[in-house]
Symmetry: C2
């Protein structure tokens, strides 16, 4: 099996390295990932700047893949259209430092990379590790769990272009309680800014940390993850509101 | 009616100015938009850099709103949480130079701004103008059409948090044929890169122009727009693949 591995934390991120160590047990892994951190870039792509590409070696000085000075979605496009000699059987994005559940899914470069692969009809899986305490994350252990989930997803022989979002709960909370298949939570988040003045009196804002969902819908990715379950959410990229579309067929328009 | 207007082409873009001229006929318009062009940034947000904010005057030296050195989604968050004295009744994003249909919806900063407003349960409308020839776009005429569509959407009294994606066909193609309510096209696009070497022999790629959908699904935003119709697509931001989720409830997992 040929696996393309990417992420949004950058090619030198420990989460990507740990996941690669596990994925080589499943097949040939080629990494095409951003040269630098690209968190919360969503589904950005680079149209107006050149995408510099550089070969990267692993810790044993073996060819590992390419670093791209671009976004996660650029990495997937370049890998599929230019860099990989053969199409991959699976695209994996992660292991992200921090969960990607709820509406965070839409801000996530990790998930965007997986969606981009699904645009090309490749099976893809985004994997993220919840971050609850200011302590180093146990990426090697989380990557083992991620590999077990990936193996079981592949065992179900998903159709080409199928897309999954996997979150591993913080391992600080104790042993993982199991795996749950859940929908994305769409309840609102609470968020705030810190307003400041620069030395010249100009107003600026910092986005405060602590972006949180105070009242998540039950039985969703956000709640199951909080309860200590690994969450698996199948995703799709048709944003059409089907119910409202049907209702709108009765609307009369004029120009 | 209080209207928040934003975009991704930047606060000085002619499309935003033309749309503002039309929207003031419907209510009080406040602009909170990126200070610089932000095309194809998708649903990026700014977590690690300060968001500089500056008051901007219109062509009559009257207060128009604020320019934000950030992404379209940052602009909406800042407007709703910090800048606007009262919540808006409507959020409009556009008028974008270039259509946002098919999978482009996911790359679009224009649409991301409208989705961000929907996160906050505000009614929001993204508006884009198709670009087919290297000629200046007729924003004033397109903005008139956009305002007519917006008026009719509001006339249907959509529930708070309802989200619409509107595309105006290129006016170079002749008179608009009407308004159609259509789903997002999800057929793949054809795209390519131009591989080059820099003077030091390093490989880089440019994203080629001409990103196009060779085989769109019928009766979608992409086809209706090509045929000269204004398209209206209701959107939502729950990316869960509901059909596959149901199927996955039968999967057995183990750790």
């Amino acid at each position: 099996m040929r696996i393309l591995l990417t992420n949004d934390d950058g090619i030198y991120a420990p989460g990507l390295r740990a996941l690669r160590t596990e994925l080589v047990k499943l097949g040939d892994v080629t990494v095409v990932a951003p040269a630098t951190e690209q968190s919360a870039v969503g589904h950005s792509i680079t149209l107006l700047a050149p995408l510099l590409v550089q070969e990267v070696l692993d810790e044993h000085n073996q060819f590992m893949g390419w670093a791209v000075e671009g976004r996660p979605a650029d990495c997937v496009k370049l890998a599929l259209l230019e860099l990989l000699p053969e199409p991959p059987d699976l695209v994996v994005s992660g292991l992200n430092a921090g969960s990607n559940a709820g509406i965070n899914v839409l801000y996530s470069g990790t998930v965007a990379a997986a969606i981009e692969a699904a645009f090309f009809r490749h099976t893809s899986i985004a994997v993220s590790l919840e971050y609850t305490k200011p302590k180093p994350l146990d990426f090697p252990q989380a990557a083992k769990l991620a590999r077990q989930v990936i193996e079981q997803i592949l065992g179900q022989r998903p159709a080409p272009g199928t897309l999954f979002n996997v979150n591993i709960p913080s391992l600080e909370k104790g042993p993982v309680r199991g795996i749950r298949t859940v929908p994305q939570n769409v309840a609102p988040y609470s968020e705030s800014f810190d307003r400041r003045l620069d030395p010249r009196g100009r107003v600026y804002f910092w986005t405060n940390p602590g972006f949180d969902c105070p009242d998540p819908h039950p039985d969703t990715d956000v709640t199951a993850l909080r309860e200590g379950y690994i969450t698996v959410t199948p995703l799709q990229f048709n944003l059409t509101h089907a119910g409202l579309l049907q209702e709108m067929n009765g609307w009369k328009w004029q120009l």
